[in-house]
């Protein structure tokens, strides 16, 4: 078994963020997703924009999002992603998990 690295942890979080972002829109391209995450998190989550793409492709392989080519708002060809039904379910579950863990961590921190 591989040891869970820092990257894995980040990936998990990134997946959740992507899914959540796509939930509130119909279809978005990579740039828009990256901008949206940055805006909503008020510039906190801004790390490497590039790492977004392997994550997007992985989610696509898992069948949680679907990609198709379309024309962007500026008339350029772009790859748009949208959430699929299994993706919605996955988001629900991951969000629940996250909240639970975050809550637990919060409680531990309060105690300490």
């Amino acid at each position: 078994m591989r040891k869970p690295s820092r990257l894995d942890l980040l990936q998990g979080t990134l997946d959740l963020l992507i899914l959540r972002t796509l939930q509130s829109a119909d279809a978005m391209h990579g740039w828009a997703i990256s901008e949206r995450i940055r805006q909503v998190s008020e510039n906190v989550l801004q790390a490497n924009q590039g790492s977004l793409y392997p994550a997007l492709h992985r989610l696509e392989h898992q069948g949680w999002i679907k990609a198709e080519w379309g024309i962007s708002e500026l008339g350029r060809r772009a790859r748009f992603y949208r959430l699929t039904a299994p993706g919605r379910k996955q988001l629900q579950q991951e969000a629940d998990d996250w909240t639970r863990v975050a809550g637990a961590i919060g409680k531990v921190l309060e105690l300490a």
Partner: protein, 866 residues
Amino acid sequence: MTLSDLFLRLRALMFRARVEEELEDEVEFHLAMAHRKHLEAGHSEEDAARLARLDFGRVGSVKEDCRGVRGIDIFETALQDIRYALRSFWRNPGFVLTVAGTIALGLGLNLALFTLFNAYVLRPISIRDPYSLYGFTWTDRQGAGHAFSWAEYKQFEKDNLAFSEVAAVQYIYTRVDGHAFQGQLVTGNYFQMLGVTSELGRPLLPEDASAPGREAVLVLSYQAWQSTFGGRADIIGMKLMVRGFPMEVVGVARKGFQDISEVPRDFWAPVTMADRLQDGSDLFGVEHPERLEIVGRLRRGQSVSGAKAILTAWSQRITAQLPEDHKAAGILLRSKATSIPLTPELLIVFSPLVIAFTLVLVLACTNVASMMLARAVARQREIGIRLSLGALRRRLIRQLLTESILLSIPAAILGFIISRVTIDASIRVMFATVPKDMLELIHDVPRPVDWRVIAFMVFATLASALLFGLAPAFQATRANVISSVRGEVTSDLRPVRARNALVIAQVTVCTLLLVACGVLVRTTMAMSAFDIGFRTNNVIAMEVAANSRRQVLDALASDPEVDTIAAASAIPLNGAVRTMTIRADDGPAISTAYNEVSPEYFGILGIPILRGRNFTKQESASETPVAILSAGAAQSLFAGRDAVGQIFHLSGKPARDVRVIGVAADIVTCCIPWGKDPALIYLPTTSATSAAVLVHVRGEVEAVRHRLDTRLAELAPGAIGDIHSLDQYRAAGMYAFRAASMIGAALGGLALFLTLTGIYGVLSYFVTQRTKEIGIRVALGATTRTVVGLVLTQSLRLTAIGIGLGVGLALGVSRLIASNLVFMRGFDVAPFAAGVLLVAFSALAAGYVPSRRAARIDPIQTIRYD
């Protein structure tokens, strides 16, 4: 793996360029958007581009990560491995050719064997739904099948059991224009049941067989139409004489259909004609002769085990009233989907052949494995460096295996060609060596290269690639990183040990094959020389139809070249034996072979009457209840007493008491491999009533046979069935063994050749590897003799171990075979001695060249080498 994942991976694999382009576009788009944003924020063109890239991270590694998600890197590395391997092959074509050639030899032979096996045993017969077709018979307590009478068949048809359709068939043999014609008498629904249409005219129809005696029509096979009648278009309506009875050709069956029996048939005729075409009791008469086979289609949804239960119950019910001996003990339900059904018995009979062929392939693989090992050791340095640079061992093994599989591709192609050539050549050899009279009975069956043959080829190729590639791959990558980089490959002796093991294995297999082949040849020789108890020279035997018998006998009697005429109900050595049960007054019942003969029979064949006397003419004519026993029969019936004058009971139809008037010497009735009959009785008959006539002739027997055949055919068309010299019968009976000896000799020779090259390779390598050591020895005063001795000792040591193992195995195998064949009883030292000497001598010869090379090593040069 989800469905979308699979889909995306496949897409990535098949449209690699396009997927790659899309990734490029996507990243490009992102960068363009980021660039625009930074421009709008007031940065300069140059800064905007730089910032966009900075935010994005390393484009190359992002793309690499994206590719990783696709998960097709395994193919990409495979592609790398293939390119790498091809480059190294290109530099060393001799190696590739040797490997491919060696493997192809073994592969080709096995593929040839499988192609034949497929043609007879696996390939379904070309009829509608072959897999629902079954042959049915009930069996007695000995497990022997039973032929059905017409009444039994009718009952079976009426009771309408597990089958949706049933038909009855009977084999019939005749000669048309001097050609052997094998046919099938069938019920009228036969062609409909099989779904066989006609090429020309019409198939047989139910109306043709509506009542006994109807219709005098027949359907030819396409093959017979082509070969015997040259495919002439006016064949329909022609009259052919079938056993002396004119039959009208109404059709030619569709191409590719040659009946569902083991041997292809030339024609089909209505079973209702049986009485006209056959001597003896009427199939539809009161005697209810049992001659029919039943075939049928299992009902849709009917399981085989269920059908067996139903049919067993039926057979037992039908035979309940019969005497104990005639009651059904079990049933046989045999698939008719292929020419020869795939049964455990068949596999047992076939297994020695399969094992011998497989061993040759294994031998070829060991040779190549040994070569691969030598190559891997030579590449130890390269492999060591790669390992020390962090290459995974798994990855290196995969690369070496890729090479093996690549090497096996030309081997497979070459092997395929060899298999075709081998099949053609062996069929040609068979036609050239088979006894002449057997030729016309041999039909070539189609031997297509279908998916089964291809699948076997792929499987055998991959298996041999693994066999010759796996061990060297593991061995080579086990190298000690540090020493191999330094070039100290000889410090690891394990590859040498592995190669020695391979040589021992080769010698073992080779010895086993050679000894087995020797045993086979010796057996065949013993059989050829075996005293069968009677003279075969200048005797011609023929089967004569009852309606023309008088005419034929008169013609024979007046023939100037015919000396003596004898009659018999069965021709000796024709491969069949008829048995009956007899019992002495106070003794147990014994099963014995029997023959009904005229008094001349003993003279014509030179069978001595040991005690008592021959039949008289009167006894023959009146079929008096007297008998002559063979010495074996006399011994088992009346042990220790004089058999002549004794009475025994014969439980045939009719049952009667028979008096013994003489005792004759033992002979072989059925087949030479079975040896002399343990018991045989002769009953009197005359040439007027018996089916076979034997004549002793003057002059060259084959010429006389041909002349008689032609003359009798003119006199009474179709009246003569088989007509052969007894020498031909004898040769035909021996042919299987002669063929097996030829195959054995070919395999043995090949095995010897492979072993020879194997030993040569290993010893050459041994000498190269120990050049330094030998050089030092020579420098210290070792003579040529000691050096040659060093190498030869090495060779002989391995050979001795191999021979020991091989002889042990061969002993076991020959004991196993001996239990089934009369002629292999007892230990025959000759084939063992010959096999061992041959292998030992070859090993010495193979070792000689490398040993001379070792002797020529110049000590100065080798010591200076480092």
